[in-house]
């Protein structure tokens, strides 16, 4: 029993030493080695390789809708001329998706590639979420559908593509999201487009799937479904900055 207890203390101390060493950055190279040689290959092995073409079309459709809204509002004249879905001065870093779980994505790029906390993750112009954790060779992205995630969003009418409401988007897990704090008098309906402002530019997030409102309530809530099935994503882009 005494021997077992001393073993517990030994491993606890060892864990603490490893934790502190990692926290202070002494284990960067060791961690990088294991992530490169073990974590990335294992995660890639278990990741489904099916490429879903529908995803691209869905993203493109949402993107075009947002682009249309942008054009209508006559915000960026140069974007009108070029027809570019994203601002030309944005810089992106392509990263390989090596795994996903519980509304998170693990990507094969980290501190070494210059990935920083809070960077926006984008796929075909659709805003997915932000970088939550960064290690040497891998990083974790918290999707907007993650239960801990919240984001200020705008809702654009499905036909007019004009701003109809604003609200706070909360993740509910399993690709589901909910917008709260939509004022009762604001007209929101199924199919409306949800966009989030990233670096001053509106990026599509998803579409309204349903609106909940009881007479007498101050606020409405609306369900939002993420249109991108992250399970089949192969490469996504991280917004690293502007030129």
């Amino acid at each position: 029993m005494r021997n077992r207890k001393s073993k517990i203390y030994f491993f606890l101390l060892l864990s603490l030493v490893i934790f502190l060493a990692d926290y202070l950055g002494f284990l960067k190279s060791v961690k990088g080695f294991f992530e490169k040689k073990m974590v990335i290959p294992v995660r890639e092995f278990f990741k489904p390789q099916l490429v879903d073409e529908c995803q691209k079309f869905e993203a493109e459709r949402l993107n075009l809708k947002t682009q249309l809204a942008g054009l209508k509002e006559e915000v960026v004249s140069s974007r009108k001329l070029l027809g570019a879905p994203l601002p030309a001065n944005w810089q992106f870093l392509p990263v390989k998706v090596i795994g996903d779980s519980d509304d998170e994505i693990i990507v094969g790029g980290g501190d070494r590639e210059g990935i920083k906390l809070g960077m926006a993750a984008v796929y075909e112009g659709v805003f997915l979420g932000k970088v939550e954790k960064v290690s040497q060779e891998i990083s974790k992205i918290k999707l907007l559908s993650n239960a801990d995630s919240k984001q200020v969003v705008k809702i654009l009418g499905k036909n007019s593509l004009n701003l109809v409401a604003k609200g706070l988007l909360f993740g509910r897990g399993k690709g589901e999201m909910e917008i709260k704090e939509i004022l009762a008098e604001e007209e929101v309906e199924e199919g409306d487009l949800v966009v989030a402002t990233v670096e001053g530019f509106d990026l599509p997030v998803g579409e309204i799937t349903g609106v909940n409102y009881q007479k007498g309530d101050v606020f409405k809530t609306a369900g939002v479904r993420q249109k991108i099935k992250t399970r089949y994503l192969q490469t996504i882009f991280l917004l690293t900055g502007k030129i």
Binding site: K7, I8, F11, L12, S15, L16, Y23, V42, R43
Partner: protein
């Protein structure tokens, strides 16, 4: 067995992009308290 738990914690951290050792610490604290409980309540 304990070494297995230790490795498991480290592996979990590596795969979940956590600070290394964090899960091992949690595992050992749980084992430690279970030990105390087992001693006091004679499971």
């Amino acid at each position: 067995m304990l070494f297995g738990f230790f490795l498991l914690g480290l592996l979990y951290d590596l795969f979940k992009v956590n600070p290394l050792g964090l899960s091992s610490i949690k595992i050992f604290l749980v084992i430690y308290f279970l030990n105390i409980l087992a001693k006091n309540f004679k499971f």
